[in-house]
Symmetry: C2
């Protein structure tokens, strides 16, 4: 089996055509004030703790449940930052590429190393082809993430992203 | 305590002035045929399994003991590739930034997630300032790596690197 096939077995993918321009999708992903409103499926919410959009820069988000209770920290760093094209980040490494501490095996949350690779490209009519790939270290964790609702969660966020851009950035 | 101080607690650093030019040190680190001869402290040896010098590209090395027996695989990917300046790689992520499988807690080898950040800069007289930083996920693993001989091992490799360049690249 080739490496690509192996990688694909550990990958979840959301692919969408978004009815907003590529540069605004990029802006909403990479600007502190514009990411918080849509990044987490409502009625959950998110706050930026630390965000330094460059390879090795911190991408630390705090999520809250509908009652306002903090969920476990969501810390990591950026890997690739290619404006209007590609944004990658991981929880396997923290700020400065420091390997993240071991995860808690008993956690019920999304508490496993995870890499996200988001690609953006222009489509005719001011639309964006939007592909979000999630990479996992093994099949069990990939399936757990799938069952937790990867498609639904990332899909809701994509809808919120489009609505936010139309209301606030256009 | 600031994040930087926390990070430093988990870091091992080798700093050297090398008596060879910066661009040749870069070449020896990033070229398949030129990395194998010096990368592993002799009488151990190393072979490149896969090497694609770009962010997310594989950096997979196979080490052998003096009898020619294979050591556990040494797989990872590049994080930063800035010619003649900075080369970073990690074992926490594999090719394509895929999170690496869990390590074997019972291993006696260097079997833990590890990030290396190597910086190179020109010094007068065709010399190179060479700094190799090793980042660990916790203090226990940092200390284990220190006791395994990080300074001695990376120091021997730096000596071998200089000798190889003088004999073969100058």
């Amino acid at each position: 089996m080739s490496k690509t096939q192996q990688a694909n077995k550990l990958e979840l993918v959301l692919e969408r055509e978004l009815d907003v321009p590529c540069n605004l999708v990029w802006k909403a992903w990479t600007t502190r004030e514009h990411i918080e409103p849509w990044w987490c499926p409502k009625p959950y919410s998110a706050k930026v703790v630390d965000m330094n959009v460059k390879p090795g820069g911190a991408f630390n988000m705090q999520m809250f449940d509908p009652e306002g209770n903090k969920l476990p920290p969501n810390n990591g760093c950026y890997l690739e930052v290619v404006e209007n094209e590609r944004l990658s980040f991981t929880s396997a490494l923290l700020e400065g590429f420091q390997p993240a501490p071991e995860t808690d095996k008993n956690s019920e949350g999304c508490d496993f190393p995870f890499t996200a690779i988001i690609t953006f490209s222009d489509l005719p009519g001011g639309k964006t082809k939007y592909v979000a790939r999630g990479l996992h270290r093994n099949e069990a964790e990939m399936k757990k993430h799938e069952q937790m609702g990867f498609q639904e969660g990332w899909g809701m966020c994509a809808d919120q992203l489009v609505a936010y851009i139309k209301e606030n950035l256009m």
